[in-house]
Symmetry: C2
Subunit: 350 residues, 2 copies
């Protein structure tokens, strides 16, 4: 039996969406149990023999500053959900709430794994092969060192090898075009570290990749600084929205184009399904001593259920142990990136 | 009469494309003259009363390292074209060649303007308003300081106010989501500098924007580090290609979808036109003591002509003087970003 703790209050829609998703999830997973965390009043209507309500008296708002979420709302549904993981009552927590708050609370309660300086956020983006590319970091960390990028690569490899069939997943380092071959100093050093890690069998390093490779599906995992990852993700969403918007505009222009839209409808529907970000909902917070998954705040029930599925798969396949084992194996390369350099220590940074 | 120097050998297709574009351009611009730079043999077939051939004996290959282009090929078509600008024989140079080489040669021959540490590459991307967003930097500079970002903002404002109708263009600083409000230290400092510049009337600062705002058209100009800009551009191209590819796949799936494609063809054509990156071809190299425009290497004649148009508009509207004036006005804010601070020295450059 896999038990997940669900922050039912998070996201733009709260229990209306999360509870609907929880019911679908329970129907699809007979070996799963859910701890529904939230305001008692909001959850009391829900009843299922594999669900238990865990009351919390506060809710982290989508626009709450991290400090408020962390220090003032100590009985928030988000925090209580993560506490279930810490206490061993649940194998993973899922929330659609405020990302910054979720990361801060998760980090505060669960702590990072040995060898990990900073947790990362990993998400999947659909690619042209019909599969998905896992990208990390997605905004948890700005100003990353080369060692941080290596840690992301190792954690991402553990995640993908758990969630995806096939051999050892390939890792690409996000860099700028071949023409301007320089890259930043951090990226160049990260490339060296990743090559070393490949040589020691810690990961399957493909080499540098560019922004478009995320969507070509050149590699299974793309590693980048959180700032760059966040911009790439949002720019991509922006382009997709623009194209879909333009398609709608062109098809609704006049009577003939509207008729064409009717004819083309099944094709457009298939296209939308292919591009549907909801299918890839559920970002993993990696590097913590416990599993936490983040749903998009605007998720509907179908999307939120995907995040639950992802947490379930990760828990069932012991993602945490796998990350821990891989990190331990790569430890000689994972020097303490945030620590001060010490005499006699070969590789430190920042 | 506006004279442009054209590197006819650059790009994936060379004279076949560039000469065709030059002829179209001359037909459309009766007050323009072209200096066609390249191997004499390759250009001799071209004849026009407003075009002169300027021979060069070497060609910078698309994969030539910057050092080779700069130091070994001193009579390359790229270099001779830029030399025309330096000598005052042409008002602007246009090349579809190797970006790194073009930037290096342009910087070496023309030098940067007073107050500018690093030239930037500015391009336009189509947005959902039907217009375009100018983004800089696009890969010329990695590891930018806050002062560099301010310089980009001032130069971008000059460019857009020359190429686009309307009032003072708005500038957004590319940052990560509101939820994770931190941003990097450099970005936070850049935000302060941009606010100061807005207060002193040097630019119209909108505030922070995110990756998707590039395509929403939230602001006229988006300013970012060259690494981030390059990734955002390429990721966007990747998504657009993926969606177009998926549309083609879905429409060609079987006989019914192929029939639907015929019906939908005019709509899809209108969509492609809207999204057509060729319409926005022609990136400006800003911050130099001369005008240089870069065409996409894969440009066809229509796209290369767009780059010529852009250079023509910039030259006709005295972009160089406008950038110079604006930079001079903003000089008190444009501290020497690459230099060590020196007592009593207000503004120097690399």
């Amino acid at each position: 039996m896999i038990t997940l703790a669900v922050d039912c209050m998070g996201g733009d829609h709260g229990p209306r969406v999360t509870l609907a998703a929880c019911r679908q999830f329970l129907d699809h997973h007979p070996d799963a149990r859910l701890l529904l965390v939230g305001l008692a009043d909001s959850l009391q209507s829900f009843s299922h023999d594999r669900a238990a309500i865990v009351p919390a008296t506060e809710v982290v708002a989508m626009d709450d500053p991290v400090e408020v979420a962390l220090r003032k709302k100590k009985d928030s549904s988000m925090r209580v959900a993560i506490q279930q993981v810490k206490d061993g009552a649940a194998s993973a927590a899922v929330s659609a709430g405020n990302t910054g708050a979720l990361m801060a609370i998760a980090r505060y309660l669960l702590k990072t794994l040995d060898g990990i300086d900073r947790p990362a956020i990993a998400t999947q983006m659909p690619n042209a092969t019909g599969g998905a590319t896992t990208v990390l970091d997605l905004g948890a960390n700005v100003d990353c060192s080369a060692e941080h990028l290596l840690q992301f690569a190792v954690m991402g490899s553990a995640l993908v090898s758990v969630l995806q069939e096939g051999g050892e997943p390939t890792v690409g380092l996000l860099n700028i075009g071949e023409e301007v071959i320089k890259g930043s100093e951090v990226i160049k050093k990260a490339g060296e570290l990743l090559r070393s890690a490949a040589n020691s069998g810690d990961l399957n390093f493909y080499g540098n990749v560019e922004g478009n490779d995320i969507f070509k599906g050149t590699v299974d995992i793309v590693v980048c600084d959180g700032f760059v990852g966040n911009v790439a993700l949002k720019a991509s969403e922006g382009v997709a929205s623009m194209i879909i918007g333009a398609l709608k505009t062109e098809f609704s222009r006049h009577i003939f184009t509207k008729m064409a839209a009717i004819v083309a409808y099944p094709i457009l529907k298939a296209l939308m399904k292919r591009m549907d970000y909801r299918r890839y909902n559920g970002a993993a917070l990696l590097g913590l001593r416990g599993l936490v998954f983040k749903s998009h705040g605007s998720a509907d029930a179908m999307a939120f259920e995907q995040a639950l599925n992802r947490a379930y798969d990760a828990a069932r396949n012991n993602l945490l142990d796998r990350v821990r084992t891989r990190i331990a194996h790569a430890a000689p390369l994972l020097a303490p990136a945030d620590a001060q350099p010490q005499p006699g220590v070969a590789a430190t940074a920042q």
